[in-house]
Structure formats: C-alpha cells, structure tokens
Amino acid sequence: MTLEEILAARPSPGQPRAYSFPKFERTVLPSGLQVLTVHVPGRPLVSANLIFQRGAVDEPADLAGATILAARAMTEGTERYPGVELIEAAERLGSTLHAEASWDAFAASVEVAASRLRAALELLDELVERPTFPAEEVARLRDERLNDLLQMRAEPRRRVEHAFSQSIYTAESPYWRLAAGDRSTVERLTRDELIGIHRALLSPQRSALVVGGDLTGLDVPRMAEEVLGSLASAGSGQSSASAVSGEPTAKPALSVPVADSAVDRTIVRLYHRPGSVQSEVRIGHVGLPRRISDFHAVQVMAAILGGLFNSRLQLNLREDKGYTYGVGAGFDMRRGAGPFAVRTAVQTAVTGPAISEALSELRRMRDTLVTEAELAAARDYMVGVFPLRFETPGAVVGAIGGLYVNGLPDDELACYRDLIERVTALDVQKAAQDHIHPERLAIVLVGDADVVAGDLEAAGFGQLEVIREELPEESGEAGSGDGEDE
C-alpha cells in the first residue's frame, strides 16, 4: 500500500468497553449525616468531601460574602490546632485541606492516601466543628478580600462578569451580589458574623460525607460515625429521628433563591476602559436552575451553540471570522436560576460585527432545527466523553457531591448517557425557544468606548448606556486573589 492509500481510508471505531458510572452506597448516621461511599479499584488516593447544603445564596444581603469568608477562615486555626498548626498537620499527611463555599454549598475536602484517611477525617472534623475564627486572622482575610475587589476592577474579565450579573438580576436577587461580597458588606464582617454563619451551617441533616477511591478494607461509615458522629451537637441541635440505612430521612426542602430578571428589552451597557485592545463581551439573561425537566435537551442545545470546540459560535466568530481566540455559551445552573451567557473577548475594531454574529447565532438556534450532523456531534461527544470525565476518584466524588447539593436522584448520572442519546432536533429547538430570549438580552462590555460606542449606537442592538467611571482613588485594602467566584 502506498502512503496515500493507507491514509485515504478512515478507521472506524472498535467495540466500546462497557462503562457505567460507579455505584455509590449510602449510609445515614444517627445524627442524620449521610455517608456516600464509592469504591474505585486501583486508586490509592482517596478523595473525601464533607458537604453542607448551605452557601452564599442563603446568607442575608447585608452579610454578603460572609459564607465564603467563613470558609476561608476555617483553616486558620481550631481548638486543638491553633493558627497554622492545622495546615501543618494536614501537610504531614501529604494533603492540603480545602474549605470552600460556593453559591449553593460549603464543602471541606481532602485528598489523601487510603491508609491515612482516618487521620485526614479527624482534621476535616476539627476544621468543620471547632474553628476558632481568630479575630486578627479574620481581619486579615477580610482585608485581602477588599484588596481583591480592587484587583477585580482592573481585570476586564472579572469586571465584565460582575457588571453582567448586576445587569441581568434585580437587586433583590442574591445572584445580583458578588458571592464573596463587595466593599460595603465585607468591610463590616467580623468574627461574630462568621461565628453566626458557621453555626447555621452545621446541620447534619443538611450534610453529607462523600468518600471515593480504593476503599478495600476500609469501613468508611463506621469511621465517619466515630469521627463525625458528634456533628449534630455543634449545630442547630435538631436531631433526626429514625435513620434507616439506604434511605435518607426526611430532608429539609432546599430553598429556591429569587432570580428575577431586571431586563425586559435588550440593553447595551458599555464600561469604558481606555486603550483596551479587546472588548470583553457578555450577552445573556437570567437562565435556569439545575433542577429542570428538560435538562438534557438544554445541555445538548448549549453544546451546539457554544459548548463544543466546534460550536456554532466558535465556527463563526473564531474559525470563520478570526474575531476572537475563543467564544463560549452556556447555562450556569445553580439551585436557583443562574445566568445564561455568551462569553468572549474580541478585537476592539470588530466589536460591533462580533456582537451581530453572536446575536444571529442565538436567533438561529430558535428559528431552525439543528442538522442531524450537529445533533450527532454533540450527542456523541457528551456520551463518549462521559467516562473520561470520571477517570479519577476526585471527579467521581465531586459529581456525587453535586447530586447531593442539588437534591437530584441517585441515578441521575447513571441515566445521563441514555437521556442524552434520546434528545432530538425538535427537543433542541424547543429548549432554545423556551430558554433563549433574544428580545431581552443584556449586552455588557468592558472596552474602549471612544472606539466602539459609535458602532454600538449605529448597530441599534438596544438602548446603549456608556459608563465612563475611572478607577476610583480608593484607599485602604485591595489585591489579587485566588477567587474567581464572581
């Protein structure tokens, strides 16, 4: 065979190896704490995640940022391990303790050799049950957040995300706020507020321990009972009655946050950043919560629009026009309706044309059926990549934690591929028609208004508002942080 003959023949796939999402076992401790374990053979590193169904969305508006700040402060010292000793104790086990809050949940997690799991759980318990919130460390973390807010204003990407949230939600919605809080609320946070947040967090009936890895020879539920069994006493004090293994006891209903739209017709909001060589652009509106009946159709639709590498937006704005290094679109699904957004950064000179193309892709998603080839590409990718997503225990544990946080059924992931397979072109179009609203978009930009405002005005996408505020001369604290929580 010549090289030409060899390469002219495309290979066809072999027989796929059977795959199913790892099964997990559930035990409910007398306190109400659920223990979810998943055995992943051959993986000596175990991932343990202690999750509480309470997040930034549940905090009062005037304490915005308190939950995330409390999470950060929980590794700053406990009764038994003052100061940095907690961190050091974890490091001696070869692990790093993570305590993180998101909109929907707080989670303390650790990755550790299976033989050291018990010692690591003891540290997790210490962190969660007995943090001391030293006043001076709280003050330092608060100042670091204030510094981070200053840095945020200087970073076009973070600044546009913030402006976008504040454009699409009414001020009554928690999602209008920054999850980690802004200056007006963070400045006021002290040890006392964090202690209050911590107390509200600690309900065993709203918490689960998820452990995954090679669990051969480990009785994780028993270990959890011995180490975390007293969790109830630290919390709100409610005790669960009859805990039956295999079936969770009556769960308190998850609260559904307000997520009202502030936009009733398309608007354009341009934040002036002189000399910007690109415009950071966000286009969208209030999207969807995680618990919806057409979840799988929405996911396929979003993949075709802006999720795949070869999504419609990418093929148009990147591979055809060269306007951008990358463009994506999707729904950030939370307990309440998170945002739907098209996200990109485009060369300043083509800002208007790039937005026109993005808008036409949004309309096309609603107006016509996707082709069979597009549908197959998205469906085959989502089904095929599923095992790759769950190669490590950390990923499996994270996904099971996600089910718990959102109150989803245990078989949600096991059914995922079948349900994706069944999505039709009509389902995709219906999802677009139901959930994409081109007539009431917020188009939010951070860019050089002196160059792009004229084009945006002329294009007539919607009412244009140009915000020319410069970086304020703020004194006090500010910084670059690890938080991309905005």
Partner: protein
C-alpha cells in the same frame, strides 16, 4: 503509599519515530500524545511567534481531513484534544475512549504526512487573526500581562533564542507566509523529530501495528538543522531591574533567576525549595509576608524547566496598599537568601516531601498525564524511564542540596526584579498596539 510504577515499551520505527506504549486498563480511556522537538527556540529573528502559529495551522486540516474536522472527529468520538507550544517543544494530544484509539493515530499521521496539501492563505490568515487575539487576551489586555515576556527578555541575552516570548510579536506574526509554514513543516515535523506516547487501555500489539501502518511510510528528514550552542553562564552576572507602569491598583514584584537546566538534580532540589518557600499556607513566604507581617496580598514561587542554557526560577509578591514596595522586596529576598545560609528544618522537608508525593500520585492517575510525561522525558532528556524515578529523586533531596542550590541561584547578581506600579494616567500601559 507505593511509588508509582509505569511500565512501558520504548522503540523506534525505521523512519525514526519514537514510540512509547504504557498499558493499563483501569479506565476505558487512552491518551495519545505526540511531542515534536521544536519550539520557539527554533525561531529566527523576524519570525517570533511562528512555532505557535504553526501549531494552530496543524488543526486546519490535512489531505484527508477538512478544516475544523480534526476537532470535530475527536469530539464526536467522545475525545478531548489540544496542542501547546513552549520554548523547547510543541505537543499535541488526544484523550479518547479506548475503542477510538485508531482514529487518533490516523489523525496524527495524516497531518504529519500531508499537512501542506490542505494549507492555504485563507486558513493561515484566519489563524493569524486567532493567534493575535490570543496574544491580546493572554498578555496585552491583561493587568501585569507582560511579566513573563519581560522576564525572558531580561534573563537571556538578545542573541539567545529564549530571549523572545513564544507568543511572538504582532509584527512578526503579520510577516509569516505560506512559504514559512511549508519550510517549517518540512524541516521540523518529520517522524524522526517526534515522540509518540500512548498510555492507558490499549492492546500494545494492536497499537504498534496501527502505528506501523499509519506512520511507517512517512519520510524522515535526515537533515534537521542543529540549534547550535545554547549554553549560558550559570548566573546573570549582575542584577537587572525594570519598573513597569500599568493599569493595576496594587504594585507587584516579579523575581527571576537563572537556574540549572531541566534534568539537573539541582533543579529538582530547587523545586523542593519552591514548595518550602511558597507551596501553600504552611510555606515560609506565605507565613511571613502574608500571614505574619501582612505586607503582601499574595506570594508565589516556581520553576520553569528548560533544556538549553538555563531554566528560570521565578517568584512574585503583590504589595498591600499603603506598604512600601521596597519592604516587600527585601523580605522576599531575605527568605530566598536565608535558604542559602541555613539548612531547612526536618519538619519543613518532611511536609514538602509528603505534599510532593501526593501531588505526583494524583497527577499520574490520569492517562493523559502519563502519556505527556513519557513523551516529555523522552523528548527533552532521552529518558522516558524518568517517569518512574522522578518521585524518588524529589524525595531524596537533602537539606544540604537545597542549601547549596539556593546559595548558587538566589544571588543578587543573578536576579531580575520587575516591579509593576500603578500608572499615573489611567490609559498608560501595556497594550502593544495602542501605539501602533
């Protein structure tokens, strides 16, 4: 915990392609990773940024694969993919459900054999625009965005190919022509300049047969031009400083040092030192500058390993409002220099080792990482078995070795300090194109 052990085969096809296969069946996935021994160090003056632009062209199709089809086929097969370019090398990788391995091999072979058949001006111009937008996104429109480019510029002399950044300049990107692409492909993309690593759920005999079939007939280039002598004095020979005005609210220092080359055990000692200096909240710099003295908002320290001339050891500290940047610089440098004066404590070293061990085990869980490291060690050190010795080498680093390399590297006359300060005017700055 047991040390990771990756068993693999290592062979060469007649045309020089190096093939490494590591079989394990833990998950039904397989990674294909191909490293070409060409990077931005092979660029000539006036053509900076070309190796990376070329990497983009590699996704624009080949004789039997249409534009955008490479991505499309891999994704439809349930795979993920990407490519990256760096000073010493360019790599391309696909992670696939294991029954789709042959597709990934065919795609890599088709572009290695026939890329130029699909090359046209329209695709080149399109990817030039995409890459220029990548440069704007990643460097020019980003606060502090030029730090790494400036660090290379100051650490390496103008005639050295590490002097210029991999992303290149707008002017040079504009100058890239179809002839440049063709010449670069013929010179640097033959099978004898590549290492192909396959890791995961694979039948080695079948994989070997497919590789022979698809790659075996691709012609070698017997005349890959050698790079010449990249060696450099071990130290800079005098401190270099730059102050950069930018649209940033907080000042920030970036520190850079010439360091031993990739593969030198002293660089590994330096990596352990970096863990002790800034690896998390228990580290020296974090404790002193962030937690105790509260003069910095954040700190970092890390190494960038290169095989030609010298590696880079680099750090950063963001200055808290109201704090004199000089105070932060002195504290940072004191901690580096202290490492050269006194041995680290047994407890610090034990914690660093434990964290490195977990990190290594965590990384090697994924087939993509195993394939990548095998190809990396084969390409850069001609020693793929380093994948099995790396952890042991980190764990055997002694306090004396850390002290010795710190004393060699963290010297004022081997130091670059780049200090970002808030610009007086809001529009002053870093945007390369604003002047153009």
């Amino acid at each position: 915990m047991t040390a990771p052990s990756v068993s693999f085969t290592d062979e060469r096809l007649v045309n020089g392609l190096r093939l490494i296969i590591a079989e394990d069946h833990m998950a039904p996935v397989v990674a294909v990773c191909i490293w070409y021994a060409v990077g931005s160090k092979n660029e000539v003056p006036g053509k900076t940024g070309f190796a990376h632009l070329f990497e983009h062209v590699m996704f624009q199709g080949s004789r039997h694969v249409a534009k955008t089809e490479h991505m499309g086929l891999v994704q439809a097969a349930g795979g993920t993919l990407n490519g990256t370019t760096w000073l010493d090398r360019t790599n391309y990788f696909e992670t696939m459900p294991s029954h789709q391995l042959e597709l990934a091999l065919w795609l890599e072979a088709d572009r290695m054999a026939t890329l130029l058949d699909a090359l046209n001006q329209e695709n080149l111009d399109n990817q030039r625009d995409v890459v220029k937008n990548e440069k704007r996104s990643s460097y020019d429109n980003r606060p502090y965005g030029q730090w790494s480019n400036k660090l290379q510029e100051l650490l390496f002399p103008p005639e050295h190919p590490y002097h210029h950044p991999t992303i290149g300049s707008m002017e040079d990107l504009d100058a890239a022509s179809l002839e440049d692409v063709a010449g670069f492909f013929r010179t640097y993309y033959p099978p004898n300049n590549a290492v192909l690593a396959i890791a995961g759920d694979v039948d080695p005999a079948q994989a070997r047969a497919w590789v022979e079939h698809y790659f075996g007939e691709i012609a070698a280039n017997p005349a890959i031009p050698p790079l010449g002598d990249l060696s450099l004095p071990a130290t800079l020979g005098g401190e270099r400083r730059e102050i950069v005005e930018d649209r940033v609210p907080l000042p920030r220092h970036y520190f850079g040092f010439r360091a031993p080359r990739f593969g030198d055990p002293r660089l590994e000692a330096l990596e352990v030192a970096a863990q002790i200096l800034a690896g998390g909240k228990g580290s020296r710099l974090y404790r002193r500058l962030v937690r105790e003295e509260r003069i910095a908002q954040d700190v970092a320290f890390f190494t960038l390993g290169f095989v030609g001339g010298a590696s880079i050891a680099a750090g950063q500290a963001t200055v808290r409002p109201g704090v004199d940047p000089d105070v932060v610089e002195r504290a940072f440098e004191e901690e580096l220099e202290r490492l050269g004066r006194e041995p680290v404590t047994a407890d610090e070293l034990a914690r660093a080792r434990a964290l490195i061990e977990t990190y290594e085990l965590e990384s090697l869980q994924r087939v993509e990482e195993r394939a990548d490291r095998l190809a990396m060690f084969a390409t850069l050190l001609d020693d793929p078995d380093m994948i099995n010795r790396q952890l042991e080498r980190y764990l055997s680093v002694t306090p004396e070795e850390i002290q010795a390399v710190a004393a060699e590297v963290f010297r004022p006359d081997n130091r670059v300090v780049i200090t970002y300060v808030p610009a007086a005017e809001a529009a002053a700055g870093q945007d390369e194109e604003t002047a153009a």
